[in-house]
Each structure stands twice: as C-alpha cells, then as structure tokens.
Amino acid sequence: MTNWLPGDCREANERFVGTDDAEWGIMNPITRRAAAALVTLTLVGAACTSDGGSTGDSTPAGTDAPGETTAPGATTAPGDTVEVVQADESKLDAVQSAGVFKCGTRDALPGFATLDDSGEHIGFDSDFCRVIAAAVLGDATAVDMVDLETDARFTALQSGEVDALVRNTTWTASRDGNEGATFLQPTFYDGQGMMVASDSGFASITDMDNVTICVAQGTTTEGNAAAEATRLGLAWEVRPFENVDLIQEAFIAGQCDGWSSDTSQLTGLRSVYPDGPDALVILPEVFSKEPLAPAVADGDTTWAQAVNWAIFATIQGEEFGITSENIDTFATTADPNIQKFLGQVVEGDAVLDPGLGLPTDFAYQVIKQVGNYAEIFDRNLAPLGLERGVNALWSDGGLMYSPPYR
C-alpha cells in the first residue's frame, strides 16, 4: 500500500504501518517516544505524498485502465480529500483510476430498475449504468449501483457520491440551472399520464372533475398535474406520497381516483398491480414532456462527453444493425463507418480516436457486453407492454438519433 511513495518517504511510512495498534496500550516510555518520532515521520511522509503523488505510476486496485494518466486526486492521502470536486481533474480520470463507476439509480421501479432474486439490479436504467461502465472501463460489471431516494438524487450527484445519475430523471430547465446537473442524451422520451381503476367510469382526464390524484413526492409530476388541472379548468386535489408502495395502498383503499406519473412508470406499476393489470387502465392523454436523461455534475465537460457518447453508441449500434449477438461478424466489415465506430484497426495501426478520453473500442464493448438500444429496450421495457413509439430510431420516425461517429 505504500509503494507509490517516493523513495525517501517510503521508509518512514512503512515503519509506521508496521506498528500494530494493539501495542500502543502497553508501551514503555522509550517506545512511546519512538512512536512519537514515527508519527512525526509519517507526517513528513504525508507531506512528501502530496508533493510527489503525481510521480506515482501505479493505479490502485490493479486495473489496467486505459489512458495511464494517474490522477493526482487518486493517490493523495485520505486526509487530503477535502474538495468534493477536483477542478483540474475530470471525473473520467477519477473513474478510470478507481476502476469502478458509481451509478445513481434506484431499486423499485419495474422495467427501469429493480432487484432480481439474487439482488442484482435489472432494468432499463440499470443497463444504461452498465453501458457507461463498459464504455469508460471496458467492463460492464465494474459498476457500483447506488440506490437513491427521489429527493436525494441531485444532492448525491453534486456531492460526488455518485458519478452519474441514471435514474428516470426528467430534464427540465430549472434542474439544469439550479441543481448543478448537466443533462445528456435522453435514454427515454416519456410523458405524464393518468391511471384509473377500470371500473371507475373515467374514459378521459376531462371526465375527472372534483377528484383526488395521487403522485410521488419530489417529482415534476405534482406540478404537471396542477398545471393540467388549471389548463382544463378541473378541480384536482393532488396528494403526494413518499413512495409508490404508499400510493398503491392509498389507491387500493380508494383514497385516490387517479394515479399520475410518467406513462412508462404507470405501465410498469400496472404490470405488477396486486389485482392484476386489467384492474387498471391508463387514460389516452399524455399531458407533459418528460425526457428521461442521464445527468452528471456541472463543470466537467470531459466526463459529460464521455457519458454522452456511451449512450450514443447504443443508438448508433442499433442504426448499424449491430447487436451483442452479431457484433463479431462485423470484424471483417468493409464499411468504413462501422470500422471507425467499432474502433477497428484499418490499415497499419490506423484507428480512430476522437479524443473523448474513452478507449478506442468503447462502442464494441458497450454493444458486446450490454447490447444496442433496441436490445436494452426489448429486454426491459417491451415485457411491460411498452411500445417504442417516439423512442424509435429517427430513421423509423422516432427521436433516437446519434451524431455521426467520425
């Protein structure tokens, strides 16, 4: 653990590390004086570290992360982690030297992020966490899923507790401006809808006057519902709950006439409703735009670009028809666009490195290990009964469009 210290500092530090805590209780005065000297030397050692840290050439945890630029922040002593955000160091370097990507997600949204029987995160958002890990680290499993409550997500992002937020988060102007978040390519274009009991007799939200609508707290849902009621001249009482379990209880007990949320969420919740999905019906109206996008902290363009291109790779992969199954058949492709996209060595050792700080084969790793956009969608959201709709490729009339990789 001390081998990253420059030579003259190393000795002092090793002697200190060799001192067992248990000995401190029974020390005689001479030992105590020696220990004091050791502590002093260690302080000197620590000082050496902050001076000499940048000369170290090893990465902790033994990852052979690409781009061997060891970050100063990664090798300083624990006491030096004062600043939450390191100005001169990109999160990209920090993640690559840590060898693990901390993804802010959740554990209770069917289709987007839930836990399977073995406790693994599965879902659309969870897969995009893996996409980022595959692109940045070359390993889709090198991701640390951090479950966040809705109202804690931006704080976790700002404080660096998570490297990115892939947590069903709507991109809005106020969040972009006030929460210190940079939103990236939306992974799912959603809209708010209304779910009611099948036997309620409501066929449209315009039928719903003088009713109670239940929503989740701390989301844009409350405001959208209030705005829609005002727009339509209806009296809606909006009742916010801390989590979907409580909403479901309240809904079953008949405290709410309507359950409003993003239609994708409603579809997921409907699929696991205790009385069966047929007991509920989602009304046809969609009354808000909810682009669900990954977010990173403001002020780190390098990291934002890296995450963005990881997302784009899934879309571009679908456009090229490359899937996790057939990707290796493209090894001999003659299409120069695909060659560049997959980071293949074309002639000699010519390979496109657009300078994003990502490994040149990041798109290959993303699609090979996780899949393209269609695979991720079909795996997680199609079983809920969600259609591609506006989330189809641009070439199919949807909104999914990747800038060219060249």
């Binding site: 929460e179 409350e222 405001g223 909006v238 009742r239 002020g299």
Partner: protein
C-alpha cells in the same frame, strides 16, 4: 541571589487569568474557522457547478399545489414555504395541547390505586414509547385512515355534523376570515382568565367556593356569543358532493394521521414525566391534604398537580420541542409541512442547500421561541426559596 521584594511577577505565559482568556479565544477562533471553511467550500463547489447559492429561488413560481390549500401553483416558492410553516405550526399546536392533556391523564392513571387502570396505563406507555414514531405514523395511516375510514362513495355521515371518509373528515366551520375569529376567541380566553382570577380573589376573601372553571367558561361563552352576534359570523355544515365534500372544513387525512400519531406518541413520554413529577412531590403534601379532608380529586387538582407540574415543566417543554421537530415525519404520508414543501420545491428545481438552510433556521427559531416561553413560565412558577 537577592530575594525579590513583594510578590514575584508571574510571566504572561503562565498567568492563569491570561491563559483562560487565550483558551477561550482559541476555541472560538477554531469554531469560526471551521464554519468559514465549510461555507467557503460550499460556495466554491456550488459555484463551480453553477448552483445558485443565493435566495433568488424564493421568487420563482412554486409550480406545485399544497394539498388542501388554495395557494395557486404560480405563487412564489416563498409563499409555499410560508404555508408549509403554517401547516407545521397548526399540527404542532393542536398536538401539543392534546398530548399534554392525554399525557397528564395517563401519568395520573399510572399511579392509580385501581389495578386495571394502572396496568392499562403502563401497557400504553410501554407499548407506545418503544415503537419508532415513523413506523407508528405509517402504520396508523395504513391501518386507520386507509383501513378503517370508508371510501368517499360510502362516507359516514354523522348526523349531518361530520362527513368521515378516507379523503378527510369534514366538520362544520365558520364562514369569514380566520383572523377575526382568532381575535374573538382570544378575547374570550382573556375573559375566561380574568373571571377565573376574580373568582380566586373572591374565594380568598370570603371563603366561598371559587368555581373558577365554571365562571371562566361562562365568561368565555358570553364574549364569543356576543362577538358572534355583532360580527355576524355564520357557519356551514358539511355534506357529501360526488367525490368530495362541500361546506364546513375538511381536515386532511394526513393531518389526522399525523395529529394522532404525534399526540399518542408524545403523550406516552409526557405521562412518564407527569408520573415522575407526582412522585417527586413530598409525601407530606398528600397527607396534609388528607388531613384537611380534601377529596381525592381536590387533593390531586389543588395540592399535588400544581407542585408536580412545576417540577415537570422543563422536561415537558423538551417534549414540545421534540413534537414540533417530529411533525416533519408527516412528509411520508403527504402532510405538507415545512419539510415536505422544502423537499418538493427542491425536486422541482430549487437549489437544495439554501432551501434546507432556510428550513433549518426556521426550525431553530421555533424551537428557541418555545424554549424561551417554557423558561419564562418556569421562572414564573418556580418555587421561590428563601
């Protein structure tokens, strides 16, 4: 070496008086430095991420509505937070009054000579205060509000006076401004107090029974009735109307659940304080009351309780502070107190740190004011020893 005349001068660095001051200054300097450092860190990191650190967000539209409140969604965040503050006060004041009464009764029951009453009180105290309040609240909401209260379509109509459903309890309410009513009831309370005081003096002078409670209530009723007639308040009865109620005032189910949870929980703590305080009153006091042939109630009401509450006042005041802070747990079941308004506005784009800083300052202010009031009352009632 010649001995110096008089006391030798102590050097500055060994002078205890100086050292004491130096120590104080160092501690203050360290504390200030830590705060400045934390604040500097926050401002630096926030501005690096373009997060506003000022209070400008207060003027943005809140863009959400507070359940059971007429505030428009276009009202500024400032107003939404103020309504949240009022909601915190509402539930706290009502629950404090109820918890004090219930807690005192249970505390006395804990010392009852009746075995059944005593055991029931013990079971109540031990069961309630050993359950986390958050659990109690959620369970109360699920079991009572959602489990017991009927759906709105078959709400209980209690003789036209109340409509009970899981969307709230509608009760008769006055029409007109709440401030006017508050003044009226305030005047009534003053009349009650004055009448009671006067009866006390009469009793001291003539030895007649004071009956100050009866007289006080009479004075209160007369003042309120006369004021009511003069200002012409009317009231409306609640009735069912489709999927809601009209008339009267509807008490939100989340308010209900939170009020009951806070009252029952805090009462269990107050009961223990009351019991302890009663036991701390010297035994001779009860014996003296028996000696002058006071009844059991008179002994408790005139002799024991006034002395016991004097002992119990400071710790009961602490329970009041706990209750006010615990009211923030109502957020879980959707009671729009100050905390939930803060959480919601943060979810809708207000910067987290200034919002929560503001809310914390308000909680601290409320707590300090309550604490000051308790201290004033304590000084006023404290036994003056000579």
């Amino acid at each position: 070496m010649t001995a110096a005349l008089g006391t030798p001068r102590v050097p500055v660095w060994r002078d205890v008086r100086v050292l004491k001051w130096v120590a104080q200054i160092i501690v203050v300097a360290i504390a200030v430095a830590i705060v400045v450092w934390l604040y500097g860190n926050y401002v630096e990191n926030a501005s690096r991420q373009n997060i506003p650190t000022d209070m400008g967000f207060l003027d943005n539209p809140a863009s959400f509505q507070i359940t059971g409140n007429s505030l428009s969604q276009n009202a500024p965040v400032r107003d939404a937070l103020y309504q949240g503050f009022l909601n915190t006060l509402r539930v706290s004041v009502v629950a404090i009054v109820a918890a004090t009464v219930l807690g005192t009764v249970i505390g006395i029951a804990r010392l009852s000579t009746n075995w059944v009453v005593r055991q029931l009180a013990t079971v109540y105290v031990e069961a309630v205060r050993n359950i986390p309040l958050a659990l109690f609240l959620t369970a109360g909401f699920l079991v009572v509000v959602l489990g017991v209260f009927p759906q709105i379509t078959d709400a209980w109509d209690l003789a036209g006076l109340a409509v009970v459903s899981n969307r709230g309890v509608a009760v008769p309410w006055f029409e007109g401004s709440g401030a006017g009513l508050l003044v009226l009831f305030g005047a009534g309370a003053v009349a009650w107090f004055a009448a009671a005081k006067w009866r006390g003096r009469v009793a001291d002078r003539t030895g007649a029974l004071p009956r100050s409670g009866l007289w006080g209530f009479g004075a209160f009723a007369v003042v309120v009735a006369v004021g009511w007639g003069i200002f012409g308040y009317s009231y409306t009865l609640p009735s069912l109307d489709g999927r809601g109620t009209i008339g009267g005032i509807r008490i939100d189910p989340s308010f209900f659940a939170l009020f009951f949870a806070l009252t029952i929980y805090t009462a269990s703590h107050i009961a223990e304080i009351v019991r302890g305080s009663i036991q701390a009153v010297a035994r001779g006091q009860a014996e003296a009351a028996d000696a002058v042939a006071l009844s059991g109630f008179q002994r408790m009401w005139y002799v024991i309780l006034p002395q016991a509450l004097r002992i119990g006042l400071p710790p009961i005041g602490n329970q009041y502070l706990n209750l006010i802070k615990n009211s923030s747990l109502g957020a879980a079941i959707g009671y729009y107190d100050m905390t939930l308004v803060a959480k919601t506005t943060v979810g809708n784009g207000s910067p987290a740190v200034p919002v929560f800083f503001l809310v914390m300052v308000v909680y601290i202010a409320i707590s300090l004011i309550v604490s000051a009031l308790v201290n004033v009352a304590n000084r006023r009632f404290a036994l003056v020893e000579r």
